[in-house]
């Protein structure tokens, strides 16, 4: 098995996930401090949407398989479009 992401920089992983979901799953991030509304975490929702699209186990967490897909070269057109 390849080494898990925990050996990598946590920040690098979060940056990869956020950028990927912004580029291809329409995640809106405005970096403003914001009180959480009703517990809805958009990033987790979008991550689940991406995992469902790729037929991965829908965990809402950036697990190994999810990161493998995110590191794959791909088309720049978003997977979900407005």
């Amino acid at each position: 098995f390849p080494l898990g992401p925990e050996e990598k920089d946590e920040g690098q992983t979060i940056n990869l996930v956020e950028t990927y979901l912004q580029n291809f799953y329409n995640l809106q991030i405005d970096h403003q401090p914001r009180v959480r509304h009703g517990g809805k975490n958009h990033l987790v929702e979008k991550l689940k949407e991406m995992q469902e699209f790729f037929g991965l186990e829908v965990t809402g967490k950036p697990d190994l398989e999810t990161l493998e897909i995110m590191n794959k070269p791909r088309c720049g057109v978003p997977d979900v479009q407005q």
Binding site: R74, C75, V77
Partner: protein
Amino acid sequence: YVFTPGNPKWKRNNLTYRIVNYTRKMRQTDVDEAIQKALNVWSSVAPLTFQKTEDKDADIVISFAYRDHQDNSPFDGPNGQLAHAFQPGEGIGGDVHLDEEEAWSKDGRGYNLFIVLAHELGHSLGLSHSDDPGALMYPTYAYTDPNEFILPQDDIDGIQAIYGQINAAVQPTGPKTPQACDPNLTFDAITTLRGELIFFKGRYMLRKHPERAETELNFISLFWPKLPSGIQAAYENIEKDEVLLFKEDMTVPHGYPKPIHRLGFPKTVKRVNAAYSDETTGKTYFFVADRYWRYDENKKSMDQGYPRKIVHDFGKIGRVDAAFQTDGYVYFFHGTTQFQFDPRSKRIVSQRKSISWFNC
């Protein structure tokens, strides 16, 4: 397949395209060939024609670009995003942009320009990303030998849902992506590989690691770009840490193919259906139609007294599609049926579905 939201489509079927510039990574003639081939992928299954033009407002404008190229979607350098395209429409609509910083190629090295272009043209014609891992419109890059490329059924269904079928008595069809838990799934060949099981089907391989619950589906070319699809037989020689693959009329790297007759088959034998190797005895069994041969890996020659009838020594298992040995049992696959054979008692000890290994 998925339509682009709003179902955009071209109002004409006779479209025009223009090539703005060329990548420096390939010869211009190879780029032209890749573009032509990519356009043919779609024109051969839908009533569409593509006419090359130098006209500024061609329907589809193809260009190679760097980083920020004024379309609000900057490229990201090597790897990552390889290209993008715009849905049908005026102006930038239909245009294809390719990242000039990618290692474009006409074969399995770097990124194959034909494969990426064919995918982007799907967007230019109104398709969005498909979640079928075998589809051309699947978002991640997967190399397939352009000479073997056949547009998958999912993509044919998608483009024909937008533009209709071609005017032909027989409609084109394409490969369907195998589903591990499809009860009708049959296999071309199966082999062990360092403790894993590899099931070959068309241009796919299903990979089952004993420690992982799920089954991985990949293109054969993901691991072995030079291997053809449609592997017919395979077995692992554990002693030599080697997996041998058999296919009639193979074209593979230097030193291969080796004619199967060097193993001792008579000239009348043209292909091998299945094979497995018994690690303990050093004997390899080859199954051809209703007979089998036994090869001695140590002596490197066929044993005397073969071929023999399969039914005589293995029972009523019919023609063998695929076979492998693990945990002392031999598993024979015939269509959607799998027979578990005990070589010690020389009896079939159980019969089950072909997909029993996939935890369905």
